[in-house]
């Protein structure tokens, strides 16, 4: 299934909750959650751990807006809005961790 997170990992527990509960599948980081894809933060070890269980994607326009497009953790795939739609249609179910 697809898990979507839109909150910063250092300001909210949404991504923590997602990673605690979800067993695997696709994980899409959008809006302020794209900071979790950024290399060098305190959250990086947890994200690297998540990459063992999830295919992780980050939304390109949100990365660019926040100036973090060039500093991503290795293994995270970048998608555009079309890729977002593909992920939604490819997965049977979708949970947004608002």
């Amino acid at each position: 299934m697809l898990h979507i997170v839109n909150k910063s990992p250092l300001g909210h527990a949404a991504l923590d909750s997602c990673l605690r509960v979800a067993q695997g599948g696709d994980l899409l980081l959008i809006e302020d959650a794209v900071y979790a894809a950024s290399a060098g933060t305190l959250f990086e070890p947890l994200m690297k751990d998540a990459l063992k269980r999830f295919k992780v994607y980050a939304l390109q326009p949100d990365l660019e807006a926040r100036g973090v497009a060039a500093h991503l953790i290795e293994g995270i795939a970048v998608v555009d809005y079309g890729g977002f739609v593909d992920l939604v249609t490819q997965n049977k179910t979708c949970q947004s961790w608002l």
Binding site: G11, A39, D62, E64, A65, G67, A70
Partner: protein, 124 residues
């Protein structure tokens, strides 16, 4: 009342990242209004608020206003007291070089002391 005594110390505390919510932009709007009244204005960036000052923000793709260049214009409004909490930068793997503007980096203790000195504190 003398003119001197009508100047108050205003601190704006910015703790949210830009773009995901309207807080950062709204704070900036109020900061500029306050500056027009010749007050003693300090801006503080801590927690995810430090991301507001990050270089290289390009909002074309999300079709919103890119207000990040405005931080560089604050100098022109005589707003020169920009403080960033060191611990917040460290937690996000950032250094002063990653920021759009010159700031004063303070540790949390110094920042707390500065907060205590204010007449007005506005939270965003």
């Amino acid at each position: 009342m003398s003119e001197e005594s009508s100047i108050k110390k205003f601190m704006f505390v910015n703790r949210k990242p830009p773009h995901g919510t309207i807080y950062a932009l709204e704070s900036l709007e109020v900061v500029l209004i306050t500056a027009a009244f010749d007050q003693d204005v300090s801006l503080v960036f801590l927690d995810d608020g430090v991301f507001q000052l990050r270089k290289g923000q390009q909002t074309k793709g999300i079709e919103t206003k890119n207000f990040s260049p405005t931080y560089r214009a604050l100098d022109g409004y005589d707003i020169e007291k920009l403080y960033v909490e060191k611990e917040s930068l460290d937690a996000r793997g950032l250094t002063e070089d990653d920021l759009l503007v010159d700031v004063m980096v303070l540790d949390r203790k110094a920042l707390g002391a500065l907060m205590d000195e204010q007449d007005v504190v506005l939270s965003f």
